[in-house]
């Protein structure tokens, strides 16, 4: 067993536990899970602020400067990839 590999995992788990204990920020933001996105473009069609574009790998990207956090893209994503 290579223990050095367990170190980053432990560190990240501790960070996540710490983060759970934090108070929430006043605003949120939406992001795309790239591994779950299938490039269908449904989110691009419903975004009322032109804040989503498809990148060079045909994965949806949210332009954080334009997103108004309406949540429409979350509702139509067939992969539930937007969170």
């Amino acid at each position: 067993m290579r223990f050095r590999c367990l170190l980053p995992i432990l560190m990240i788990l501790i960070l996540m536990l710490v983060a759970f204990a934090c108070r929430s920020s006043s605003g949120g933001e939406y992001n795309v899970d790239r591994s779950a996105c299938n490039g269908c473009g449904e989110c691009v069609r419903v975004c009322p602020h032109d804040a989503i574009y498809m990148d060079a790998d045909n994965k949806a990207m949210i332009d954080q400067s334009k997103c108004q956090q309406c949540g429409n893209c979350v509702l139509v994503c067939p992969q539930s990839a937007i969170h």
């Binding site: 560190m11 934090c22 992001n31 473009g41 032109d50 990148d55």
Partner: protein, 400 residues
């Protein structure tokens, strides 16, 4: 140049698309085409997806993706009657370089007027017309280093409408172009077999928008570890990234963001596989002294391949997403199986807790070589308050 492209008529655009497709067919590429017509109440929707891929002996791959969605009415799931997106992409691998070059053309027609920039121009609405996107992405590997760079430019032609406060009407304005240019560089260093560290910078500019309101620059530092305790069976990937964002549209709290993620994939047996993925985003308060929770995202799923067909086309799968901060908690399940001979049946469901749901059932016929045709029935509620939609459809998928 962009002006010239925007001015290109729809007829010429269709002709170029047709010529490209015919030229390609002569080169015997692999083709996948899916078409589906659905009827919702008294509306009709037609969806077409085409993928043509040609591999060359030089190692390059040329791909055309075409996505056309047309409906005779605007629906909450589609803000325009016609959406047509065509992508041409070239992928090439040289000895140490992997490059991707592409162009995407998106046509919006018969669209709802949308408040593209409600904060900036509260009394303006827009119609999206035509969008051109061009990109170039390259990764260069050199011993333990990997250098990655990209540029993507997006030019959207829009027709603005301004609200006349005296007449209470919308007044059409001269068409405009909205440009977004994204570029980025990233350097990654592989410390050992499992661990890599990286640093990167991205810049996005929106020329023409007063005061650079949508300009954004980000710097990031990250570390990633990929550990395979049981090769080909168990794979654990963890990553940690700090991102600093500088842009007028970014709130003070979201300037420093810390993203921690862990992903586990396990092939438990030849038939059963599963995964768990967790991402946590935290930011800091404006003074930078306190960590604040931005969002959690936990996703998991299992898939069981039924030993009915040798191709593994029969399966059941299920999963969930837990992300309470962004109201995207969901459970989903899907399954399809051969019923008898060439007839197969499939069901899928997606239930977004307290938000919406969709159930779909399919019955199909498979031809030799994976092509198929099917009929489907779907029942869904997009959001509370929007009438439930129940629709029948028919579709076919063709492989060449």
């Amino acid at each position: 140049m962009w002006q010239l492209c925007i001015g290109m008529s729809t007829k010429r655009y269709t002709l170029i698309l047709l010529l490209l497709t015919v030229g390609w067919l002569c080169a015997r590429p692999s083709i996948w085409y899916n078409s589906q017509v659905v009827s919702v109440a008294d509306e009709i929707e037609w969806r077409n997806r085409l993928r043509v891929e040609q591999r060359f002996s030089s190692g390059g791959t040329l791909t055309v993706d075409d996505d056309l969605v047309w409906g005779d009415a605007i629906s909450p799931e589609r803000l325009q009657k016609l959406y047509h997106s065509m992508r041409l992409s070239w992928w090439q691998r040289f000895s140490h370089i992997e490059a991707r070059l592409g162009y995407r053309n998106t046509l919006y027609s018969g669209g709802e007027k949308i408040a593209l920039y409600p904060v900036w121009q509260p009394l303006s609405v827009y119609e999206r017309d035509l969008q051109h996107t061009g990109y170039l992405k390259a990764d260069i590997d050199f011993e333990s280093w990997r250098l990655s760079g990209y540029h993507l430019s997006k030019v959207l032609s829009i027709t603005p409408y301004e609200f006349d406060l005296q007449d209470f009407t919308l007044v059409r304005q001269a068409p405009e172009l909205q440009q977004d240019h994204f570029s980025g560089l990233r350097a990654t260093y592989q410390l050992n077999e499992d661990i890599a560290i990286s640093a990167g910078a991205n810049h996005k500019s929106n020329p023409g928008v007063a005061g650079g309101l949508f300009d954004l620059t980000t710097f990031s530092l990250g570390a990633k570890q990929n550990w395979k305790p049981i090769p080909l069976s168990l794979d654990i990937e963890t990553s940690l990234e700090w991102e600093y964002r500088d842009g007028k549209a970014i709130t003070a709290e979201r300037r420093n963001v810390l993203v921690a993620s862990i992903r586990l994939r396990h092939q438990l047996s030849p038939e059963v596989s599963g995964y768990v993925h967790y991402v946590n985003r935290t930011c800091t308060d404006p003074s930078g002294s306190e960590l604040l929770l931005l969002s959690n995202y936990l996703r998991g799923g299992v898939k069981y391949t039924l030993p009915v067909e040798p191709e593994g086309g029969s399966y059941v799968s299920g999963g969930f997403v837990y992300s309470p901060e962004n109201y995207s908690n969901a459970v989903f399940a899907e399954g399809q199986s051969k019923v008898v001979s060439r007839i197969w049946a499939g069901v899928s469901t997606m239930y977004r807790i307290k938000e919406n749901y969709k159930y779909t059932g399919k019955l199909g016929w498979r031809f030799p070589g994976a092509s198929e045709c099917h009929i489907l029935y779907s029942y869904s509620e997009l959001m509370q308050g929007v009438p439930k939609r129940s629709y029948f459809g028919a579709g076919w998928t063709w492989y060449y």
